[in-house]
């Protein structure tokens, strides 16, 4: 193995490192630009777009915070995301568990219907969804959460189904002998064994729901961070200072989320890719 590893100091590594470093600076520049300009006054930005801040000007943040009604939209998005993820995990894990443990034809048909839904992109069914949502009075926060449960469950059921099959049946059988009911067995014995896959699905779905734009646009029209950001863009198009500040505060939560849970996100993607 030792022969495989190149030395850190080899000249090629240094050159490659240099190239990657320069590239990553270019790559990262848009985000640096946003942060720098959020601390400058708009008039200053228009005059010297690439300049540096003279002082820490916080006016942009105050404006963005108030105009976007940030606390309100943040809490609303947070609520939708949490309720959506918890709901998807609860319903899908129970569903997948039953589907994996019963071997009847009906369960196979139900499972096939769920997996078929994986093929249908949301964009194809968005118009009927929007129309149905208004017919059923679902154009509100509980309504959109319900929709996320439905839209998120095919993937989740597919992933849980594969995972549940690898959980040994003996555990459940011995629990049943000890007199445990179906729900007790599932919540106390099976669910803890699914921890890794739950973490993966939770992280992926949380990113998806938090960042989703199209469904809230069709159903809610206002009230999530993404929608507030888009509306802010319409109002303060030329106010670059306020724009950059609003972009910073609306991307901060998700960046923190990513930095803390990076391990799970990357594991989830890698696992999904290797399986697919």
């Amino acid at each position: 193995m030792a022969t495989l590893k190149r030395k850190h100091t080899s000249p090629t590594t240094k050159v490659v490192f240099g190239i990657v470093l320069i590239f990553s600076i270019f790559f990262f520049y848009p985000m640096i630009y946003v942060i720098i300009n959020s601390l400058r006054e708009s008039a200053d930005i228009t005059r010297f777009p690439t300049g540096l801040p003279n002082s820490f000007y916080m006016g942009n943040y105050i404006k963005a915070w108030n105009e976007m009604e940030f606390p309100k939209v943040f809490l609303n998005t947070f609520f939708i995301t949490t309720a959506g993820v918890v709901g998807i995990i609860l319903t899908s894990s129970m569903c997948a568990y039953m589907l994996a443990r019963t071997t009847t034809k009906t369960s196979w048909i139900i499972y096939s219907i769920f997996t078929f839904a994986l093929v249908i992109p949301f964009q194809i069914i968005m118009v009927p969804i929007a129309v149905l949502a208004s017919d059923f009075n679902l154009t509100n926060t509980p309504g959109i959460i319900l929709m996320y449960w439905g839209l998120g469950c095919p993937t989740a059921i597919f992933m849980f189904h594969g995972f549940v099959k690898s959980v040994p049946r003996e555990l459940e059988e011995s629990a049943a002998i000890d007199g445990a009911g179906r729900f007790y067995t599932f919540f106390v014995i099976v669910l803890p064994l699914l921890k890794t896959i739950i973490a993966t699905i939770a992280v992926i779905d949380a990113l998806w729901i938090w960042n989703d734009f199209l469904l809230p646009l069709l159903v809610l029209r206002e009230g999530t961070i993404q929608l507030a950001q888009m509306r802010f863009n319409g109002q303060f198009l030329k106010d670059y200072g306020a724009m950059t500040a609003s972009l910073t505060i609306s991307s901060l939560p998700i960046i923190l989320f990513y930095l803390f849970l990076q391990k799970y996100i990357i594991k989830g993607i890698a696992a999904g890719a290797v399986k697919g």
Binding site: M1, T3, L4, K5, R6, H8, T13, V16, F17, V20, S24, F27, F28, P30, M31, Y33, V34, I45, P49, T50, V119, Q123, I124, M126, V127, P128, A130, V131, S134, D135, N137, W210, N211, D212, F213, L214, L218, I225, Q226, Q229, M230, N233, M243, T244, L247, S250, S251, I254, I255, F257, Y258, L259, Q262, I265, I266, I269, A270, A273, V274, G276
Partner: protein, 467 residues
């Protein structure tokens, strides 16, 4: 399959008074239904209409049921069968939907000749297409100086007309400003019509109406002929100097965007994964940086870049138009999509690379394989599963892209041919209120995605090696 616009409720918000009474109320048999309808529809005598109260879905369904029982169906809800599909496939939808040819005219005969033309442009856009005669004519009027074709002075309308303006009769005031102006314009028009007789007539009329000396008359005759002769050349130039440009339209742009963003994302992601798979110092930080754009929402990404394109790029390059320029906008969108997407697929490729068993690599080292050989015969075949899944996901996602382009260009994208399929569906359904047409388009897109990704999976699965 219907004509229904999807947004007008099937239970009408307001109805004409007579229509409501004769077509609906009189036909209802059950008194309870009649009472229900009258409880939700209130009569406005002045406007001669019944309007509906704001009610929930269950009541609306009840209204629909009642309306159905009396066979009342507004034109908007009629069944149209496969008409929408036929319209899409036979080219009856708005022409921004399809790729189409557009002829761009660089020179309009009614404007005066350009003073200089870049050599490259002239060769490519004019001389290549011109016949020998036309070429000779062009070279007669223009001469090459450095990198420009410059219009010779004797063919410059400004200098020609100057001869008339400097006649002694004008400075003495016996001919008025407007007289000369009108005359010159007339000759200009006649020259483009290439009407010799009209020219003779107007010269005679001009000379008769004003008093000129003998010398001046000859000058007028000469200059008139010069202007007149230019007309032929201007007509020829305006017909030659055009270019057929292909406008991608919605369908074309969707494929164009998908093709290049898929290539961009996968190539960049693969390169990054290869680099990060080695013993590079600080690779964790690099991985974090390259993945970061992927966790941001498309809206935020789009707005960040939109600002860059409107702020930084014009300041650095001195070129003002970026996103509104039809020749640049598609490439800029692809650039942003690549920037946002490559991190995700870098992780996928990294996982694939790290899955390659080390014993295979060791065996190849013992057999004396070079670095390139190892890459070509071990890395590539063993990473094909990762390529398959990445291609599958990128193709499907690129064909479905919406947020990015919605936030970056919006409806103005129709002008620059940067509206993807899904965005077109969105506008069709919610701006033009054609839900039937929108869902038809959506189903077509679904078939396209199925076909392309299915084909891609077929091709790639054949190349995969069992590990």
């Amino acid at each position: 399959m219907t004509n229904w616009d999807g947004l007008t409720p099937k239970s009408p918000i307001s109805l004409d008074k007579t229509e409501f009474e004769t077509n609906i109320l009189d036909k209802i048999k059950k008194q309870s239904d009649k009472d229900f309808l009258l409880s939700v529809y209130t009569l406005d005598e002045n406007a001669h209409t019944y309007s509906r109260l704001n009610i929930g879905g269950i009541e609306r369904n009840k209204i629909e049921r009642i309306l159905k029982s009396v066979k009342y169906s507004p034109e908007k809800n009629s069944f149209v069968g496969l008409k929408n599909y036929k319209d899409i496939l036979s080219g009856k939808v708005k022409d921004t939907f399809y790729p189409r040819k557009n002829t761009e005219i660089y020179y309009n005969a009614s404007s005066s000749l350009p003073l200089r033309i870049e050599e490259k442009k002239a060769t490519k856009q004019i001389l290549k297409k011109a016949s020998d005669e036309e070429k000779a004519l062009f070279l007669l009027h223009y001469e090459l100086e450095d990198t420009f074709y410059i219009l010779k002075n004797e063919y410059n309308t400004f200098y020609i007309e100057e001869k008339i303006w400097s006649l002694p009769e004008y400075s003495l005031g016996s001919v008025s400003d407007s007289d000369i102006d009108v005359y010159l314009r007339k000759i200009n028009d006649i020259s483009l019509a290439e009407d010799n007789k009209a020219k003779e007539n107007s010269v005679d009329a001009f000379l008769k109406a004003n008093l000129f000396s003998q010398a001046s008359e000859t000058i007028i005759h000469e200059t008139t002929d010069e202007i007149f002769n230019l007309g032929t050349f201007r007509n020829i130039l305006s017909t030659i100097w055009t270019a057929d440009k292909i406008q991608l339209g919605v369908v074309g742009f969707t494929f164009f965007f998908a093709l290049f963003s898929v290539i961009g994302i996968n190539v960049l992601a693969f390169l990054l994964a290869l680099v990060l798979d080695s013993d590079l110092p600080g690779q964790k930080i690099f991985r974090t940086i390259f993945f970061l754009p992927n966790v941001l929402s498309m809206i935020i990404v789009a707005l960040i870049w939109k600002m860059l394109f409107y702020q930084i790029l014009p300041a650095i390059s001195g070129i003002d138009l970026w996103l509104s320029d039809a020749s640049k906008a598609p490439w800029l969108l692809i650039l942003v999509a690549t920037w946002q997407g490559c991190g995700y697929y870098m992780i996928v490729y990294l996982a694939g690379l790290q899955n390659i068993p080390t014993d295979v690599i060791e065996a190849s080292l013992i057999d004396g394989a070079s670095g390139f050989q190892r890459f070509r015969f071990i890395t590539i075949p063993l990473i094909i599963p990762a390529i398959t899944i990445s291609l599958f996901l990128t193709i499907a996602n690129a064909l479905k892209s919406f947020d990015l382009i919605y936030a970056m260009v919006g409806p103005s994208g129709y002008a620059t041919s940067t509206v993807p399929f899904v965005l077109d569906i969105y506008y069709e359904a919610f701006s033009h209120k054609l839900a039937g047409m929108a869902t038809s388009k959506a189903l077509l897109l679904f078939l396209i995605i199925l076909l392309i990704t299915g084909l891609q999976l077929q091709v790639m699965k054949k190349r995969e090696v069992e590990q």
